[in-house]
């Protein structure tokens, strides 16, 4: 087990380096120039040159990359080109909001997804199952920004139940206030995962129900519910661990959209702003953090899988 983890950890290093090279190149090749933010009409070409030089933008791209990498390895992510604050501090400020939103959404979608999937399988082809199937199709195909706008329109504007924006009401410091602000972003971020998980659980439960051990149990007189929750669930839940790893990318990218729409002060919102101002030290840092979350998430799901299914461990 330990060997597996160490091996996978080592594999992430070249992966992260490859990601950093590609993102660095992409940022540099994209049109736009951070110096634009500094230019005023009173500046002559020499002033503009001086600023470029001060920012180190005149060096060849590989030199810039190596300098960036060296600093990162020393733990220095640099300063934002726009607000001149250390990138690391800015990420640290934003990380809790994003992690909080993502983990709430993950837990919420697992619980709802599993319950709905299980019930749907238990009631296969009945009305409940059909409704769930329809809704989960919708859940997978609904664009999250549209869903977000609809929720805001309904719950904030029309029904006045929830605040439309931000994380806290100005001047209010209660947990209930925070929860109220988190409801809509969590729903938007979860809807797709709920649908995916419910569909997986449904189909794996249905196939489990056809297994011999279920028939034997039924023949032995065990109740259907007992079989379902005691034996089937344990087997059916296995694929969810894989989905967990797979759903992380959509969570990370979903966070960018969701946070922007709801004014949620997380990394996604920071990233969108950074991209629009060509603030490349910040863009790089956010890309690396997001990649790290993804890689670690996948690693975690692999490890969990081998814990619950020892056959995997043997394969390694």
């Amino acid at each position: 087990m330990r060997r597996l983890i160490v091996k996978r950890m080592l594999q992430t290093i070249p992966m992260l380096i490859a990601i950093s090279i590609v993102s660095f190149l992409l940022i540099k090749l994209a049109p736009g120039d951070p110096v634009q933010a500094y230019i005023t009409p009173e500046m002559g070409p020499t002033d503009i040159e001086r600023i470029r030089e001060n920012l180190g933008l005149n060096d060849p791209i590989h030199i810039q990359y190596i300098r960036w990498l060296k600093n990162v390895l020393k733990g220095d992510l640099g300063y934002s080109l726009v607000n001149h604050r250390p990138v690391l501090i800015q990420i640290k400020e934003r990380l809790p909001a994003t992690i909080g939103l993502m983990s709430t959404s993950l837990i919420f979608s697992m619980i709802v997804g599993i319950i709905v999937g299980l019930l749907s399988a238990a009631n296969q082809n009945k009305l409940f199952d059909r409704i769930v199937t329809l809704i989960s199709y919708l859940g997978i195909s609904i664009p999250s920004f549209w869903f977000a706008m609809m929720l805001i329109f309904l719950l904030s504007l029309k029904l006045k139940l929830l605040p439309s924006i931000g994380m806290r009401t100005i001047g209010v410091h209660s947990t209930w206030d925070l929860i109220k602000h988190a409801i809509m972003p969590t729903l938007v971020l979860s809807i797709q995962n709920i649908a995916v998980i419910a569909r997986y659980i449904r189909s794996s439960t249905i196939s489990q129900l056809k297994e011999d051990y279920v028939i034997v149990q039924l023949a032995a007189g065990a109740s259907r519910n007992e079989i379902l929750y005691k034996y089937v669930l344990k087997n059916a839940i296995l694929p969810v661990i894989t989905i967990l790893g797979m759903s992380l990318p959509s969570l990370v990218s979903g966070a960018f959209i969701t946070e922007s729409i709801f004014g949620w002060p997380g990394m996604g919102q920071l990233g969108v702003t950074a991209i629009f101002s060509y603030d490349y030290p910040l863009i790089m840092a956010i890309t690396m953090f997001s990649s790290l979350i993804l890689i670690l998430g996948n690693l975690l799901s692999d490890v969990l899988y081998s814990v619950v299914d020892p056959r995997i461990k043997e394969l390694n």
């Binding site: 736009g32 120039d33 500094y38 009409p41 009173e42 002559g44």
Partner: protein, 536 residues
């Protein structure tokens, strides 16, 4: 700050705040001081003490230090935190920290007197030392302040001397009439806080700024909000509101919803949103002149466009009335533009060739130039609905004189990169917008030969020396003559086609009063936030 000359380098349609419109009257009073069009019934309401005014900002402030504020968000915030010395517009000068400013007879030195008993937010007195420190820091090249140009005259620094605790003298290397308004826009920073800081932009002191404005720093949460609270000792009188808050909302649709939902107190809106707010009794919709000119730039490296007659033909073939009606509904939200200056700039004149729509004349000029058909490429920022609409209308109009206009919408960054380099040949025409401020000398970088802000590649040797003459002319009548002539020459050369002066439209929560006293102004929305109050 509004008369500050730096160009909100907005190139291009940056301002999706496609502001609104304008009165058709001759009254060109500085629109930034008047609230020209307001809607909504005003019922008698009682003023109450307290309340919080909530602004939306689309990103965190950059550096809460007026030496580095170059963007709308940070300038709006600094306007609450830091008071200017004085504000000059075409009508008058309003004094804030300064008691008076007096030029010497030869206009080579200026004496600035501060008001007595001024205090920083931490209670320390504001003195001449702070002014000298601020100006010295701006002039220090290693500090990279955006404002350095305000204190350079012809490349040479202005000398600053303390006379006594409340008096500072500025000595100019040569006459520069615009200096007085540039000086006024300065918002001093406290010496006792920043003295000895190596890099002012990166200083931690900017995170909890000590200023002199009506509201002082309370709390900042990145990506979420900046809270300011009332500064009891504000020299302009105790502010009415308990505080102002700036909430970060980057998505414009979400911001509109938040405003409708009462989670914001005011916001710039677009012409598309007007009906939503003006029909709502909870809002007060006001328009004011943003001091911006939307225009079309001719690239003079195109062979056909080097011919003045072709440029003039294009100008005559464009029907501004159709553009205003198609893009802004009516002149209520954007005034037709005839000069390269805006009406709020000193010495603005409409006594220029106006190029009123005249198809026959346009055809004649095309014939004279020897072109019966011509293909041109017009570039603009793809995210601007405003520019896209301009383009489609002009494409139609110019086809009447045999010009085949190809529209090239580009991503904003890609567009700017090409646009600011007048030698690129990816397109022949481009849409741009600029805000150059009160003083007409601020426009010179746009037209001087070889200047990086001259996006046309325009060279007129007769025109260039006139800008210098304008800067040193101290007689207002003669100055007016020079700048009027400049406008006539540029319009005759037709290197920039002025399209419209769009107006800013703001929707404000109707519970707030004192909007007239607070003055709606470009960029920062209000000039003096201490005057806003809540009603019941």
């Amino acid at each position: 700050m509004m008369n500050k000359k730096w160009l909100v380098l907005v190139i291009a349609l940056v301002m999706v705040i496609s502001a609104a419109c304008s009165n058709t009257s001759e009254n060109q009073a500085p629109a930034d001081t008047t609230n020209e069009a307001t809607e909504g019934e005003s019922v008698e309401k009682t003023k109450v003490d307290g309340g919080i005014f909530i602004f939306a900002i689309n990103s965190d402030p950059n550096v809460m230090n007026p030496l580095y504020a170059g963007d709308r968000v940070t300038m709006t915030i600094n306007n609450a935190l830091f008071a200017p010395l004085y504000v000059t517009d075409a009508e008058e000068t309003r004094f804030y920290l300064a008691e008076s400013i007096t030029p010497s007879e030869d206009f080579l030195s200026y004496t600035l007197k501060l008001k007595e008993g001024l205090k920083w937010h931490d209670g320390e007195p504001i003195t001449a030392d702070d002014i000298v420190f601020t100006v010295t820091s701006i002039l220090d090249e290693s500090q990279n302040s955006h404002l350095i140009g305000n204190f350079l005259v012809d490349g040479k620094p202005v000398e600053v001397n303390k006379i006594d605790d409340l008096t500072v003298e500025f000595k100019l290397p040569q006459i520069s009439v615009p200096f007085m308004s540039k000086l006024g826009a300065i918002r001093p920073i406290p010496k006792h806080i920043f003295e000895g800081e190596e890099d002012l932009a990166k200083s931690d002191k900017n995170l909890e700024p000590i200023g002199s404005g009506p509201f002082k720093f309370k709390e900042f949460k990145s990506g979420e909000k900046l809270e300011l609270e009332r500064f009891e000792d504000y020299f302009g009188g105790r502010p009415n509101l308990d505080g102002v808050v700036f909430r970060v909302i980057s998505d414009p649709n979400s911001a509109n919803t938040a405003l409708l939902n009462g989670e914001l107190s005011a916001r710039y809106i677009t012409t598309d949103d007007i009906d939503k707010f003006s029909g709502n009794e909870n809002f007060h919709v006001a328009t004011f002149d943003e001091g911006m000119l939307n225009n079309m730039v001719f690239r003079l490296n195109n062979e056909a466009l080097q011919n003045k007659d072709v440029r003039k033909a294009i100008a005559y073939a464009i029907n501004k009335d159709e553009i205003i009606a198609g893009v802004y509904r009516s002149e209520e939200y954007a005034k037709k533009a005839y000069s390269v200056f805006v009406p709020t700039t000193q010495y603005y004149t409409e006594d220029v060739e106006k190029y009123e729509y005249n198809l026959d004349k346009a055809k004649e000029l095309m014939e004279k130039a020897g072109y019966d058909n011509l293909s041109l490429r017009l570039a603009y920022t793809n995210s601007s609905k405003e520019q896209e609409a301009y383009g489609l209308i002009m494409q139609q109009q110019l086809s009447e004189i045999g010009i085949d206009l190809e529209l090239i919408p580009m991503e904003r960054g890609a567009f700017l990169e090409k646009f600011i380099d007048a030698s690129t040949t990816d397109f022949d025409l481009a849409f741009n917008g600029y805000v150059m401020g009160l003083d007409p000398s601020g426009y010179s970088p746009l037209f001087l030969a070889g200047n990086p802000n001259n996006f046309m590649g325009y060279v007129n040797e007769e025109l260039d020396p006139m800008w210098d003459k304008g800067v040193i002319e101290t007689d207002p009548a003669k100055r007016a003559e020079i700048y009027e002539e400049i406008q006539r020459i540029i319009m005759d050369d037709m290197v920039v086609y002025p399209i419209a002066y769009p107006k800013s439209i703001v929707a404000i929560d109707d519970r707030f009063g004192g909007i007239e006293e607070a003055r709606l102004v470009p960029i920062t929305m209000f000039e003096d936030l201490s005057k806003l109050y809540l009603t019941e």
